[in-house]
């Protein structure tokens, strides 16, 4: 899709060499069209994040406020998304829930990126630790993630921190492997070898030569981790091992409504749409970033 548009653009420019030089706005628009996936995904994500951040100003009430005598009301003027089984306003819960869901995803992304990179670097750089570390990572990956998370949640009890920890533990091995693989291939590069022979200290080599090469695959993988983390949180809440019930998240709102999807579908449907749009935005953004950074696609451009 990008390739088509881009070559059209180039063709158009080549055919009209004496056209006026493009103004900034037109340049920006051309850029946006060229990187349409990043634009679309990024904008959608930004909108959703803003909605969550601005939740207190968007007509919400306390998401924990209960009115047990108006349980399970359908959407109406008083309650835009209806109420749940304890009489809480779903509109408020979905917006505040968005905060929590996005935060969980984002936190997992940051934590697993940082720790995964650390582990990957150490593993790739210190040969004798590599075997041990990779066996442990293998071991972690061989236990199905959901079950590992459930076990961890049972161990520590439900709270935002434990949910984030449990999901991070699942995602770290993937990032560690990615970084390790990237660093291992970077090490073979001539400029790194040159740096080693010229006597640069290990920290210098890592920070100036190796790390920069890991940035683009890390960013791409991390965006996917954000999406996957949100999906895992939803799945965990669905089976009752996720975010505690007092803290709204899209996952546990859907889990609350699970038994009633045939009679009150909006309880599952509305947060489901929000989640789908968010994951969609992140995935499209990730695809766009990957296409932008991929040297082969750049070449085709």
């Amino acid at each position: 899709m990008n390739i088509q548009i881009d070559s059209d653009l180039k063709l158009a420019m080549a055919v009209q060499p004496d056209r006026k030089p493009m103004g900034r706005a037109r340049k920006a628009w051309a850029l946006a069209r060229r990187y349409s996936q990043i634009t679309f995904g990024g904008t959608l994500l930004l909108i959703l994040v803003l909605i969550s951040i601005l939740a207190p100003f968007l007509g919400t009430i306390d998401p924990r406020a209960m009115d047990t005598l108006s349980r399970l009301r359908p959407p109406s003027a008083a309650h835009w998304f209806g109420t749940d089984m304890l009489g809480r306003d779903l509109y408020s819960r979905v917006l505040y829930g968005g905060r929590n869901s996005l935060m969980i995803g984002f936190s997992v992304m940051v934590i697993s990126a940082v720790i995964g990179t650390l582990i990957g670097l150490i593993s790739a750089y210190i040969r004798w630790l590599d075997g041990v570390i990779m066996r442990i990572m293998d071991g972690l990956m061989s236990v199905p993630s959901i079950l590992l998370a459930i076990a961890l949640m049972s161990l520590t009890g439900a709270s935002l921190t434990t949910v984030v920890t449990a999901i991070s533990i699942i995602e770290i091995p993937r990032i560690a492997r990615l970084i390790r693989g990237t660093v291992l291939s970077l090490r073979e590069q001539p400029y790194v070898e040159a740096a080693v022979t010229s006597g640069s200290g290990p920290f210098r080599i890592i920070f100036r030569h190796l790390l920069p090469g890991t940035v683009s695959p890390l960013i791409i993988q991390s965006t996917y981790v954000w999406a996957v983390a949100m999906i895992i949180e939803t799945m965990l809440s669905f089976i009752g091992a996720g975010t505690p019930p007092t803290i709204p998240s899209w996952g546990n709102i859907m889990s609350d409504g699970r038994a009633l999807w045939q009679v009150k579908p909006y309880m599952v449907f509305i947060p489901g749409v929000f989640l789908t749009l968010t994951v969609l935005a992140i995935n499209v953004l990730g695809d766009g970033l990957r296409d932008a950074f991929d040297p082969r696609i750049a070449l085709r451009k």
Partner: protein, 540 residues
């Protein structure tokens, strides 16, 4: 009709492979019943996971349902909660109430063909009375058991225990089931693994998939009593040849299965789905169970803030039972406030001295809380995340406490974790707790003997460790009294005292509907899930 169905059934196996549209749903309905079962011969019930086969070792509800299918009792309570002879033909009392002579009915057989003997009964009573609360009171009162003949035995009491027959026939866990002597002599802290009883159904061990499926077949040699069923007493006639329990966790899937005819009976339907099922002419929604569910807040008397009786009273004043129960029960008819420490359906269920829990006024409660000297001490609520009713109640209570101005933290956890955490007597900062909600059946709170939460025995008693010597003394005198009228008076005194010191806070009660296909007949009111007497009606 039957012939056509049989014909279609064999043809359907061929048709199925070619994915024909409009495939009749009853074809799937059959498969759930088991191999080669024509429709109508199997009662298909949406059950819960059956793990253990020992109703004395565990009080898990699926094991109770299993036990009522394959075991029988010496005595069983009728719909007035009066113990009637069941396996016993009758009994006599000698020596001023100190000796009971029990005679067995004729023709009682175990599923392996052996006759039921007095020695089996005695061994079973011993095993039951080692674990069950009421049973232990029996064990403490019994001097010796004596076999007189294969059909007759004596129970000689060491001290007066007028409630012996009531205990033997009770319907709440754990019940006194009669098993073969070899099974009953297994240590009560270890599990029996055999499944031989003398009840109307026998267990199909080879079909059991723990956690997923279990099935029973009619025991043809069972000799039912001649009376009609009443409570868990009376004649138990196995109306179906086979009974199959399938575990379906997802409530909406369970409802769909019931409505599609893939299952016949749902004993624990999700409350909010009942509206849909009531609208379906093929499904009956009825309040079959005579036993209500009672919810209680057990507080920790050893640690602040609930070691302060003023704080306990303030919280009791803040609680509005109607609002609380309405949060988990959409049908107003089933919102059953109960301002008593007993089962409101029992004669002891009065409202003496209950003013404190009828207040339901947050403002007054706030004032009382301040007056009691509450200084913001942390309250930790151990909140189980399932079943949904308990989870909902926990969240509503958390809400009430916050409105009251308490510094409350709701900690969500599963049952195993909660059961472990509540053993801690430490302060909350060291992993202790302040309160947890628990739900029991009416039978479990009917009187001071069975209600384990209603005690003042301090650290020797149930979790919460309420220390109230006066309450304990009253309990002892209730046990010793032989006169029902005197017992009623003492029970009242116990309640009056309890409302002064609040060993726990009653939160109200609700009931459960059962949902089943309209073509079943013979479903009778009972305090437990009893599946005898039910058969296929003519409206097939």
């Amino acid at each position: 009709m039957a012939t056509r169905r049989d014909f279609l059934k064999s043809a359907s196996l061929l048709a199925a492979s070619s994915a024909v549209s409009g495939f009749p749903s009853w074809a799937f309905a059959q498969s759930a019943g088991g191999p080669g079962t024509p429709p109508g011969k199997t009662l298909r019930i949406i059950g819960e996971s059956l793990q253990s086969l020992d109703p004395i070792w565990t009080t898990a509800p699926p094991t109770k349902n299993y036990a009522f299918m394959i075991f029988d009792q010496l005595f069983a309570v009728d719909d007035k909660y009066v113990s009637q002879p069941q396996m016993a033909a009758g009994y006599t009392v000698e020596d001023n109430g100190m000796t009971y002579v029990i005679t067995l009915r004729d023709g009682l057989l175990f599923h392996d063909g052996e006759p039921v003997r007095a020695s089996d009964c005695i061994a079973s009573i011993k095993r039951w009375s080692a674990r069950d609360g009421f049973g232990r009171a029996v064990a403490a009162a019994v001097g010796e058991y004596q076999v007189v003949s294969d059909k007759v035995f004596k129970i000689k009491l060491a001290h007066n225990f007028p409630l012996l027959i009531d205990a033997l026939g009770k319907s709440n866990s754990s019940q006194c089931f009669i098993m073969p002597e070899r099974m009953a002599t297994v240590d009560p802290t270890k599990q029996i693994t055999e499944s031989i009883g003398s009840g109307p159904y026998r267990f199909l061990r080879e079909e059991w998939v723990p956690g997923s499926f279990n099935a029973f077949a009619r025991f043809d040699k069972y000799v039912p009593r001649s009376e009609p069923p009443s409570g868990i007493a009376g004649g138990k006639i196995a109306g179906f040849e086979r009974v199959a329990f399938t575990v379906i966790d997802d409530p909406s899937t369970a409802m769909s299965a019931l409505m599609a005819g893939e299952q016949d009976y749902w004993p624990a339907p999700a409350d909010d789905l009942l509206e849909v099922m009531k609208g379906d002419p093929n499904i009956v929604v009825s309040q079959r169970t005579t036993s209500n569910s009672y919810y209680m807040l057990q507080v920790n008397h050893l640690q602040p803030p609930f070691n302060n009786p003023g704080v306990r009273k303030a919280l009791a004043m803040a609680i509005n039972q109607v609002e609380l129960i309405s949060a988990i029960q959409p049908d107003p008819k089933l919102v059953l406030p109960c301002y008593s420490f007993y089962d409101c359906q029992s004669p002891y269920g009065t409202e003496d001295n209950a003013a404190v829990i009828k207040t339901a006024d947050i403002q007054k409660a706030k004032e009382a809380l301040a007056a009691a000297g509450y200084k913001g001490e942390k309250v930790v609520l151990l909140a189980v995340s399932s079943p949904p009713r308990l989870s909902g109640l926990n969240q509503v209570l958390d809400n009430v406490m916050r409105k009251l101005g308490m510094n409350v933290e709701l900690q969500a956890m599963d049952f195993a974790t909660m059961a472990t955490r509540r053993t801690s007597k430490e302060p909350v900062e060291a992993g202790g707790w302040s309160g947890f909600i628990t739900g029991w059946t009416g039978g479990d709170v009917a009187n001071p003997a069975v209600n384990q939460l209603l005690h003042g025995a301090g650290e020797k008693g149930w979790f919460g460790w309420a220390n109230d010597p006066k309450l304990e003394a009253l309990k002892t005198s209730w046990f010793r009294s032989a006169d029902p009228a005197e017992r009623a008076v003492i029970a009242k005194q116990i309640q009056v005292q309890a409302f002064e010191t609040l060993p726990y806070i009653p939160l109200g009660a609700t009931s459960t509907y059962h949902a089943y296909r309209a073509d079943l007949k013979g479903v009778f009111p009972a305090p437990v899930n009893a599946y005898w007497n039910i058969s296929k009606g003519d409206k097939a």
